[in-house]
Structures are given as C-alpha cells and as structure tokens.
Subunit: 199 residues, 2 copies
Amino acid sequence: MTRLPASLERAIHEFSKLPGIGPKSAQRLALYLLKRDSIDLNNLSGAISSLKEGVTFCSTCHNMADTDPCSVCADQTRDHTLIAVVEEPLDALALDKTEHFKGVFHVLGGVLNPMEGIGAGQLNIDSLHDRIAKQGVTEVIIATNPTLEGETTAMHLARSLKDTGVKVTRIARGLPMGGDLEYADEITLSRALEGRREF
Amino acid sequence: MTRLPASLERAIHEFSKLPGIGPKSAQRLALYLLKRDSIDLNNLSGAISSLKEGVTFCSTCHNMADTDPCSVCADQTRDHTLIAVVEEPLDALALDKTEHFKGVFHVLGGVLNPMEGIGAGQLNIDSLHDRIAKQGVTEVIIATNPTLEGETTAMHLARSLKDTGVKVTRIARGLPMGGDLEYADEITLSRALEGRREF
C-alpha cells in the first residue's frame, strides 16, 4: 500500500478537524503547504499558536477586543444610547463595516437553542438590562440572524425589554440587494411583503 | 471602527493565503480556533511547522515517502513491469486505494503548461525512460488528469514513448459511476462514446 509520510498524515488529520474542511480539502491544504517554504509554514503555525494572545473580551459589550473596554465602548464620538444586539463578534464587525451604524454593540455570545441546552441564562442578557439602565439607552436594535434560533432569540429579547420602556427594533428582513424575486424563498418573500414601506 | 484583536487578524490573514479559503472562511476558521483550547491549537500549529520533517522523495518513482526507495518501489510482490504515470503523489494514492492496480508508479511532478513556463524538462520524464529500459517495463498506463493540460501531457508522453516499443495505454475517460447522461458535459459524453466497449 502506498501511504503518505507520517508528518503529512498528521497535518491532514489536524486540518480535517476544522469546520468546513473535509478529508479531500485537508489533503489539498497539506500538500499545498508541503510545497511552500519553511517561512510560510512558520508564519501560519505561529499565527495559530499565538491566536489567543492578547485577545480579551470587553466587559461592557462582550465583544472580542485588544483592550477592555473595547475601542467602540471607549469611543465617546459614538452614540451610546443606541445599542445593536448581535449574536457573535463577527456580526458586530459586519454591521460596523457598513458605516451606517454609529451606536454601540452588545454581543449575546450565541442564540437560544433548547436542543443544545442553551437558555437565556447562558447569553449576555442580564448585562444588556444593566446597560440600558446605566447608559440612558433610547433604542435597542435586535440584529440577531434571520434564522429560526435568531428569530426566537429576538422575540425573547423583545419581550424581556418590554418593561424597560426603551424602543426595541428589529433589522429588516427582505430581499437581499441584487436578489431575484423568482429565486427568493417563500419566507423571505413573505417578510419582504410584511416589511414594505411607502415611497 | 470595530476591529478584531491583532492576533486574530494575523491568523485570518494567514488562513486566507491558503488555496480555496476566502476571507470569510478564514474568519470562520480563526474564530473557531479561538474557541478551542490551547492543546488543539498547539496540535494544529505543531503539525504545520513539522510538516516537512521526514518527508522525502523516492529517487525511483519521485513519489513522496518516508523512505527512499518508497514502500511501493521496494515491494517485490508488486509488478514492476507495469508503471502508472501520474501527475502528483495524491493521484498515486488514489489509484492505489482502488486495490485494482498492482504495478508501480511514476510521479511526473506536474503537467506541461506553457502558460506557466512548465515544459517537458521540468517533469520527471527522462527518469521514466531510464526505468523502462532498466526494469523491463511492458506497459505504461498514462493516468494524468482528464484536463486540458493532463491530456496534452498524456499525448506528449505517448509520443515520446513510441520508440521504446513498450505498450502505452491511457486510463478510460467516460461517465463517472453514479453519473447521469442528462447532466454530463459534452466532452465527457463524447469520450464515453469513443471509449465504448462490446459486451
């Protein structure tokens, strides 16, 4: 039997543990790296082994950051009375990249998922209530993903925020730009109809 | 502007250099690893940094191996008069996994690609001629990929082997098992017709 060198097998094994990387992709990655020079290999391995260095979490918004408070929470030019609630750090990054959001963030750290045993207690919901009281928040934009879990979490949040008197909004769900009615799924189309606005 | 911690940015940058991994996948990989414990991170980074250790190339068939000659070339139970010529080490591995090939391999190390300046001189073709003379080879199966470059390389090889008197064959091109005529491309169908065999 032909077999691959042990170090290559090991790299393939480690790569195939990563999400979205199957055995064939893992083989291709390992073979690709084998052809690179050692400097490239060390850059990649160094970046991985030092990944956690210097990564901290903002105690205010729970976003990943270099510092605590994070650069957004520390930025006094931003609107601290407007909070966008997101599931994960990358969602905050995506919203910020639009440059249409000048408020601050609150990272839940996940979504309600009873199947996986994730209840409201595991999410950063209590600290959101604290911030609303402390920061004089006027509006909370719930920007969880338009998935089953994201919608459930959004509804739970909206209900829990009802008594605070703060304005609670949900990001619009509808047809994505460049999309096509013909190929849109029924739920997206229904949401696009529901969310229609006057010219 | 929200920005990601520096170590995370660095990991994303390194991941996005890998083939088939775009910026979004690189983000997802880095975020995934950030949630793993340090042992997993060190396993992966260790596997990458030590990838080249102990990897050698067989001086006979040019396949990657732990030893020289490789386990296939050293195996006297295999048929050394039958050589399958492949582009890359993984192709040899794939053929071997079928357990329908009992001969030995010859790894070209690529394909003819004039656009990228890869000519016959860069491929392991001369050593193939040497082996044919030395090993008393009776058949050479050209098993390069059914791509433009693979076919060109196969034709070049077939021509260069003509004078050796050895039997030169090409692996069959046709419909893959489980495939569907309706969805097959025209070239594959044409090849499937050309390569038809009597019952």
